[in-house]
Symmetry: C2
Subunit: 377 residues, 2 copies
């Protein structure tokens, strides 16, 4: 059986977990958490990082930091994971779903402005498959209307955007805030896990407080106050040192993991190119301003029937390929809240027609060729 | 140096983590999560269990399940951790803080009824130090006024309450819901971690949905629906299999851990009894209806000055003893929301006078005797 995903151990994870236990501290915000923060800050130029128990939780921190109130509107793609929306709904926001691009499942940057109202508070672009949204366009709109931007970088570790100014910036470093995921299906994993990036300095202090259950515990550890107290709302957003130790072992091997994944991605691309053209199936599109972090290798079929058939054919050969999101504006939870005079045809098309192929570090050449042979055969 | 706490490895934790990785699934709700759920359900008679990333998150799940709305009132002790309150504040609740008992830091059961108004929705008793609140009294009030009861069992693993009917019930099995903690300072640990117990069957289905980010993913895995969708609010409350594997190794050693902690607790008690009587310092009180799970060994000094002096004396001898909660009704966040005509003198007294002694599996006889000698000397 070829699974859709297989978590990869770099070999140091359990050693680091044992080391964390030996330090006498395995609750959150210990040595390995600090190491992970430093890694991201140094490598990608993020202003301040805080590990979280999930990307969902990082998005929830963002919603609290932006002080989302009932009636505030947040614009995001409909073709995304439920947590992108739920995090803001939990604070009372109304979600205004935007369609996807024709050439890519990411938010259609040209359709954002028409959705802005006086109640709009934030835009949440999702860099689908780690491929950058056109951040120049999004930041320009946000600045003009005085909106916050929260990058959903769940897929987008180690990926970049090159703006009109020619500068290459890491995804997650551009918006006011950004939320990463280290869920087991991601490139770098800790089973469940995430991270909030705080690029806007005005959120730094409050972020630490919200992270530590609404207390000033971080200031207490630094000796800035002599007891720690309840000062704000918050939650237990920080993961254990067990999780952080596991994650750090992964981060140390980031280059190797990325090299391997990119190789697999390109093998898929090369093997499927001719077949895709012939069958009018779309392979992933990477705009010039974006890089490829090889998070997902997806196909966009012509019809849902074609996708169902292809997934079945692979399944018959013990290969597990899967579809992805179901448009949130048509979900049982949100369908009565969305204005359906606004059809989101591209989002619906990706819901129906997009499928993902097995993608993991240990996927062998033989298995990959076999997958491609079954698809094209 | 004798620390206040030292996390204990039973020896199987990293082996189980590696085993989880080998199953191909380290995100939440895998084999080890199921093993942990089964352990608790079988051993303590809990109806349904769901591991969470923290006790805070379990309390947040409880607040969502009770459908707490702005203006709803929740009664809880002021002498507790911020999360007991924050979880309900995040949903818009007003917290009505109750005083502690004279003989124990737990909620004064006889002062609850006078705090009930038409807006009261729930009572949240905290079994401080693992010592049961008088649950007959609390459940009788809750039933009479049609209120929910959420047990905060953060301290209370493996502890029991014997009611007037003579039945001995595990703490966490009595209220409609209950929230456990596996934070590194607890008896059974996973660094950060927690668990929601759902005793009231009406919450079972929705609890699973909220736990899985507001989706019907659990039903999907069981084959009850053919795709999983966004059906409710929710969050990523479930911990990774890394965390669950670590926790399960601890649970397998629960009896050994409890035996050792109880031994330490009783050594403290026996060594300090005469000194405590002489100095009018109070040692922990265990009512007849409660058991002792040896979670905390605390002293209640006569004055804050006496406590400061004792903590300093221990610190000079490289022994780390600590005070505990600061009354939440006097916290920076809540002091303007509490009605201060209602003084909570006992909660304030525990804030000022309670201290905790080092308490962990590997605390040696020699160290323990040394601690007691310094206190009494």
């Amino acid at each position: 059986m070829i699974p859709f995903n297989k978590p990869y151990l770099t070999g140091k994870e359990t050693e680091y977990i044992e080391r964390a236990v030996k330090t006498g501290k395995i609750s959150g915000n210990g040595i390995f958490t600090q190491k992970c923060h430093a890694f991201f800050q140094e490598r990608y130029g993020f202003n301040k990082c805080l590990l979280t128990t999930s990307c969902t939780d990082a998005l929830e921190m963002a919603a609290i930091l932006l002080d989302i109130q009932p009636g505030d509107e947040v614009i995001m793609p409909s073709y995304t994971f439920v947590s992108t929306a739920n995090a803001f709904v939990l604070r009372g926001a109304e979600i205004v779903f935007c369609d996807s691009r024709k050439d890519h499942p990411g938010i259609d940057e040209d359709k954002i402005e028409e959705l802005i109202t006086p109640n709009t508070k934030a835009i949440v672009p999702v860099h689908y498959a780690g491929v950058a949204c056109d951040m120049d366009k999004i930041m320009e709109i946000a600045n003009r209307y005085n909106l916050f931007v929260v990058e959903d970088v769940a897929h987008a570790i180690d990926s970049y955007y090159t703006g009109k100014d020619g500068k290459k910036r890491a995804l997650g470093s551009i918006g006011n805030l950004a939320a990463f995921s280290f869920h087991e299906t991601k490139n770098i994993i800790s089973g469940e896990g995430g991270m909030l990036v705080i690029n806007a300095p005005q959120f730094e202090n409050r972020a630490e407080i919200i992270w530590e259950k609404g207390t000033n515990r971080s200031a207490f550890w630094r000796g800035e106050v002599n007891k720690y107290e309840w000062v704000d709302i918050g939650s237990s957003f920080l993961p254990s040192e067990i999780t952080a130790a596991f994650l750090f072992a992964q981060l140390e091997n980031l280059e190797d993991i990325q090299r391997k994944r990119r190789k697999i991605w390109h093998q898929y691309y090369d093997n499927l190119k001719v077949w895709a053209e012939r069958t009018e199936t779309k392979l992933p599109y990477i705009p010039e301003y974006a890089t490829n972090n090889a998070h997902i290798f997806y196909l966009v079929c012509k019809t849902i029937e074609q996708r169902t058939e292809l997934i079945s054919k692979l399944k018959e050969n013990d290969i597990h390929a899967v579809f992805h999101y179901i448009s949130l504006h048509k979900s049982p939870f949100y369908q009565n809240k969305h204005n359906h005079s606004r059809e989101l045809t591209e989002a619906d098309r990706y819901s129906d027609c997009l499928m993902r192929l097995p993608m993991y570090y240990e996927l062998s050449d033989v298995d990959l060729k076999n997958i491609c042979k079954i698809i094209t055969g």
